[in-house]
Symmetry: C2
Subunit: 299 residues, 2 copies
């Protein structure tokens, strides 16, 4: 039996997501407006498409066909990109560069960047709700999936997490607040991707619940590992200067618990993620490989 090759899997999926995004991103229907270009500029900036891939892997794990779910997968990438655009704004993290290119507001100005973010968040729901897309999903499952996305993106998820993160800059932070930020700012959407894939893929209730546990562990592991890489990662590999979180006075796991405890925490979360997949067969191998990769990566 051939072992599962994660990199081949990811590359194939990513190429399909990129092609679908290229097609689904809107073109102007009137005067040439920079907001259309700004949306495309940020979405097509070479993202790893982690979230769409997780959605598809979640559907596959329960035996579903991920093909028809592509508009939903692309919608989640739009939500993710909108959050990056708004997080980078001068009033927020004030970043000039993202993935080596000028951030959206540096390239298009602040007003257009705000509108491009607004446009992408709205486009996500436009893509999902378009009656021409995903016609065969049972209505109850469909509705629940969209609700989970909105919930993960909103004030109880990403928006709340980003608010807490910004307010806590330059302030002493306790474990409870750090956990609030971690679970909401990035964890909520990552977990929702796997859950949504499982729901739309036709998963049974216990399967969906198991995949939510997997997603929660994965989302946290992702964040904890990011914090670790920031402290001990090789800047030539991670692409950012080491200790940059500390310099911008961002709350991190190692700052609060120390490096060795953080490493252990990442390993524990990986174990937890894998354990949640115990009752799944080889169809969950992509999810298993992704979890290991997230914790063992060097960038």
């Amino acid at each position: 039996m051939k072992t599962f090759d994660l990199m081949t899997y990811i590359e194939a999926k990513r190429a399909r997501v990129d092609a679908a995004l290229e097609e689904l991103l809107p073109l102007t229907d009137g005067p040439s407006l920079p907001v259309f270009q700004a949306m495309r500029y940020s979405v097509m900036a070479g993202g790893k498409r982690v979230r769409p891939i997780l959605l598809m892997a979640g559907a596959e794990a329960v035996g579903g066909d991920p093909g028809p779910l592509m508009p939903f997968a692309c919608a989640i990438e739009c939500v993710h990109t909108y959050s990056l655009i708004h997080d980078d704004l001068p009033a927020m993290d004030d970043d000039d560069l993202r993935r080596g290119r000028p951030t959206c507001h540096k390239a298009y100005g602040e007003a257009v960047a705000i509108l491009a973010g607004d446009g992408l968040l709205t486009l996500a729901f436009e893509l999902i709700m378009n009656p021409a897309h995903m016609k065969k999903i049972p209505p109850d499952a469909f509705r629940l999936a969209v609700y989970r996305l909105a919930r993960a993106a909103g004030v109880h998820g990403m928006v709340g997490g980003q608010t807490a993160d910004i307010l806590m800059e330059n302030r002493e932070i306790d474990g409870e607040t750090l956990s609030y930020i971690h679970t909401r700012k990035t964890g909520a959407l990552i977990s929702a991707c796997v859950e949504i894939g499982a729901i739309l893929g036709g998963g049974q209730r216990e399967q969906v619940e198991a995949l939510v546990r997997y997603g929660d562990a994965l989302g946290l592991a992702f964040q904890v590992k990011d914090d670790l890489l920031d402290v001990e990662g090789d800047p030539r590999i991670t692409g950012k200067s080491s200790g940059s979180d500390e310099k911008s006075h961002k709350a991190t796991y190692p700052a609060l618990y120390g490096i060795e405890n953080t490493r252990q925490r990442a390993r524990d979360l990986l174990d937890q993620a894998l354990l949640s997949l115990r009752d799944f067969d080889h169809l969950a191998d992509p999810l298993r490989a992704i979890a290991s990769f997230v914790v063992e990566r060097e960038y």
Copy 2:
């Protein structure tokens, strides 16, 4: 027969929308975050609830019960409020006051205002998609209605209109561009309200189409009348200094076509709106009265 009393109708509906918003706006689920207060501050700032009322009146016109549609009506008010918060930002229209109170970013700072807008836009879809709400709407109608909202709010609607409006400040504008801005910036959402009410209220296809024509005329009439009031309105009644659009170099209908043509255009749009309701019975009286009011109001 008693004539229809619009003010009583509006007051009753507005009180119900306010009560529902009070209940549906989220409370924090963790640390006390100003984004929750900021969302509430802007939504509960004394809006006239024109859009939720139009949704309910649209449902009534086709014989539907507007009661169960309240979460959708509130969602549309969230979308409207988010757009006001973001339009007021320093990078956009840079307004310090709205309805006589400090704008959201003046009260809570720019970062929280951006996040409050993002939170409200997302909350709209959370309220609509919540499986506990609006259970009896047929899935196809439900999906179409949500799609119309997303489409009206997105780059082909409000976001596109606002982009064009901002880019055109201090520039010569032609009739085509002005029409693009008018139909998208405010017209799209107003028209979508009536259409969504008709769809969710169980309207037949021809009824929905007629109400879309009504909504398009109403949305434009609303904008044209706003422009007129800005030029010739009594500042003591309109609450803004007359000629304020001209001072901020905003494109307006009277600036392009003259005051008399603008008055005639408003009357024509009212005729068009009323004509679209020709085949409707007394259940469309609220919509008829609203159209007359929009064009004849002094504020």
